[in-house]
Assembly symmetry: C2
Homo-oligomer: 190 residues x 2
């Protein structure tokens, strides 16, 4: 308790730090999306990134924390891709979103099944839902009565989740999205 009291500045090379982390996230993302979370051993992630499994644990506390980073990366990509879509008709937006999320549907199922076991994942899931609901709220036509408005948003949100996680043919998917959008119009027109 003598010498090194406040002498811990963030000194060294900072670039490789972020780069390696990004490489690990990228490798994990590919494998998680393709094979699923549970079936992908840390083994293979490390191998794909050209590293020993232990190395991952210097950058991430857990396999769960790695999953969290992957989810953040995917969400960021989705948000960027959504930007131009936000001008489309509501039903088309839903169809687009379903198709987009379907590519990572296995991870969506993983998130739901790990919510009870990982508090961090639970928080991420809550933030994700809040985000989607906010986007949906901005897209609803006209002023709706707030009581039914919230219910409507929840229904749309859950329906999208259902369409994503159960593989359903494109025609049926579109019909369902049209039905959801039509309902909002009916409510707004009243």
């Amino acid at each position: 308790m003598s010498v090194k009291i406040a002498a811990m500045p963030s000194n060294r090379r900072a670039q490789p730090q972020a780069e390696k982390r990004a490489e690990l996230i990228s490798a994990a993302r590919d494998l998680f999306v393709q094979d699923g979370y549970d079936p992908t051993p840390m083994n293979r992630i490390a191998q794909k990134a050209g590293v020993t499994p232990n190395t991952i644990y210097w950058y991430f506390k857990d396999k769960d924390e790695l999953l969290l980073a992957v989810l953040d990366a995917l969400l960021q990509e989705d948000m960027a891709a959504y930007d131009p879509v936000s001008q489309w008709p509501l039903a088309d937006q839903m169809v687009w979103l379903v198709g987009r999320l379907r590519q990572t549907s296995t991870l969506m199922a993983t998130v739901h099944s790990r919510i009870r076991v990982s508090p961090a994942l639970n928080e991420w899931h809550d933030r994700f839902h809040a985000l989607v609901e906010a986007l949906l709220l901005a897209q609803l036509p006209g002023p709706l009565p707030p009581a039914s408005r919230d219910a409507e948003i929840r229904i749309i949100c859950f329906a999208i989740e259902g369409l994503v996680s159960h593989q359903i043919d494109p025609v049926t998917t579109r019909q369902t999205c049209e039905a959801l959008a039509a309902r909002c119009l009916v409510l707004a027109g009243r």
Copy 2:
């Protein structure tokens, strides 16, 4: 290739067979529902049933097959409990169903996340959805145009799944179910 050609009649004790199997299913059910599928080792299931882990593998091929048997048992109970409920108003039925399924919501998430990995579980899930949709179809008020009818059933089904798997307070749950039922009335009245 000489002696025992066609000498394998199904002879022995048949009662203990089914009893032991039922005990294993019961033990697994309690643990799966309480702690979840993945966090429950075959270890503990065997211990709760007063058996060695290996014994389970004489009655069930897999942990997945054991899960399947548990799901069948739960479904049977739910169906029996639903019988009187089938006379209630549609919204009340939904609220009841959500509350009922919530008790096994962790298993529902497990099923969804293991669909891609276990064909048998996938089939079970398909049958389950077909069953729920058939029940819903019988409950829809009046004759609906078949195109929107199917979409409506899907939406209700997915909304119920969403209400079950995301913990949502009772008031919000009821509001959502009322909104779903109200929509059907609007469509039928038109």
